[in-house]
């Protein structure tokens, strides 16, 4: 632990970058293409997507923090197992809390909360960042990556719920009079509810991001 780094302010430019970069140029979903499976599964409605985003952020942030604090004592031969135990513990805690306070959301997310354990983003950040960095930057890195993941989830869920169900967070957004069954002209796009459209929406997001940010283009 060098003296110069201890004087570094908590939110120095370097530390802030740990949060902002995963939102855009180092986004875990659209750039690193990690954690796609849950992004497809929980984005049919906005509310579960938001809860999933918060849950993953909490788990990445705290598993990064804990592993970073333990990093000097972890025997290298069992480090993956140690990481898994930390992640699994946090995920079970999140699951218990969801079951106790937001039971209907917990029911919708069902197995996907448990599957946070296998979310590649979390393991990826532990291996790539937390094992080699001090606790505070690791914590920020976890929050950043969790938010980057959540941001994409929420964008995808926004379009899927709006176009697929005509609602946002369960509130009717597209006026009921517009619908064909009420004598209007509008019909919900049933395809938006199904997983393939999540993939296509995600693809469109990646396309927009890459056309805006030329640095992401491969040669």
């Amino acid at each position: 632990m060098g003296k110069s780094s201890e004087k570094e302010p908590l939110f120095s430019a370097k530390n802030l970058k740990l949060i902002t970069e995963p939102l855009d140029s180092k986004n875990p979903i659209t750039v690193l293409v990690l954690g796609i499976c849950s992004a497809l599964a929980v984005t049919a409605k906005l509310k579960p997507a938001i809860v999933m985003a918060i849950s993953v952020t909490v788990v990445t942030a705290f598993s990064n923090l804990i592993i970073s604090m333990m990093r000097k004592s972890i025997p290298t031969r069992i480090r993956i197992i140690v990481q898994l135990v930390v992640i699994a513990t946090l995920v079970i805690l999140v699951d218990l809390i969801l079951k106790a306070y937001v039971p209907d959301v917990s029911k919708q997310l069902s197995v996907f909360v448990g599957l946070i354990i296998t979310n590649c983003i979390i393991m990826g950040r532990l291996e790539a960042f937390a094992l080699g960095n001090r606790p505070w930057p690791s914590f920020l890195d976890g929050i950043g990556n969790g938010l980057g993941y959540g941001l994409i989830l929420i964008i995808v869920a926004f379009f899927r719920e709006l176009l697929g169900s005509g609602t946002l967070l369960g509130y009717q957004v597209i006026p009921a009079d517009f619908f064909v069954k009420n004598g209007g002209f509008y019909e919900n796009n049933g395809l938006m509810i199904l997983p393939p459209m999540a993939l296509i929406t995600l693809g469109i997001i990646i396309w927009i991001q890459r056309s805006r940010n030329k640095k992401l283009l491969e040669e």
Binding site: K72, S73, I74, P75, T76, R77, I78, I81, V82, V85, T89, I92, L93, L96, I97, K99, A100, Y101, P103, S110, G170
Partner: protein
């Protein structure tokens, strides 16, 4: 610091260190999770109770506004005490059993006992218009796991007033359709006894039931095993109540 320094000097790749590290970690994690599970148990229990009450209320179509309610637990408890006027426990011989709380009976425990020893719960609802409905809980097996439901009968104890079903993890879009209103609406107006007062239960017919058949509903295409399980569940659970139903019927005939 001396202990910390000692730990730092230990060979981290020695078997003893790895073994101690793993054991220590597991013990800490186990304690933590056990503590969390115990601390959150009451809140989870409340949710399970609320869900059960909502299911019972849904079978008589009185669970409106539950999703909008601010305090779901109190709101549901209020509705429940308003509509559910009585709950009783009977056995397969038709006797009522005193001293057992119908609401807290775990149906899957009862169903694993021999039929003579089963405590069968039953709920009596009184609607706003004064009509009385009998609500029978049912439970059985789907394709992947348990399925359950509540059947509300009119006071002729034969005509179905409403039905609601739930499942643990049936295939979405196929077996899981039993939890949708479209499937459940089919049961309204069907009867579980024929004119000769013989128990027929409700058949779940693959390929579509005959419209004129008042003892049958359509099965779910692609959800054959769930549909079959549902049919068996209805037959098994409702038939256990026959003795009690007959008693009730005799009683009301005697009064008339």
């Amino acid at each position: 610091m001396s202990i910390l320094e000692k730990i730092r000097k230990v060979d981290k790749n020695s078997n003893a260190y790895i073994f101690a590290y793993a054991s220590g970690m597991v013990i800490i994690v186990a304690l933590l999770l056990a503590f969390a599970a115990t601390a959150l148990k009451p809140a989870q229990q409340r949710n399970v109770e609320t869900e059960k009450r909502v299911d019972i209320l849904k079978s008589i179509g009185e669970a409106n506004g539950v999703d909008q309610a601010k305090d779901k637990y109190d709101f549901v408890a209020g509705l429940y005490s308003k509509y559910i006027v009585d709950q009783l426990v009977v056995n397969s011989l038709g006797d009522t059993i005193k001293g057992v709380d119908a609401f807290n009976i775990e149906l899957h425990n009862e169903l694993s006992k021999p039929i003579e020893q089963q405590n069968l719960p039953m709920f009596v609802a009184k609607l706003d218009n004064g009509s009385v409905k009998y609500i029978i809980p049912v439970r059985g097996k789907g394709l992947w796991g348990p399925i359950w439901g509540y059947i509300a009968l009119n006071n002729d104890l034969s005509t179905i007033y409403g039905a609601t079903f739930g499942h643990k993890g049936e295939t979405p879009g196929l077996g899981a359709e039993i939890a949708t209103p479209t499937f459940q609406k089919q049961f309204v107006g069907k009867t579980i006894y024929n004119e000769a007062n013989q128990f027929t239960s409700i058949k779940v017919v693959k390929g579509g039931a005959d419209r004129s058949d008042i003892h049958a509903v359509d099965a779910i295409s692609g959800g054959t095993i769930t549909s079959k399980g549902l049919e068996k569940m209805l037959y098994d659970c409702l038939s256990s109540y026959q003795a009690y139903f007959n008693k009730l019927k005799k009683l009301s005939n005697g009064q008339e």
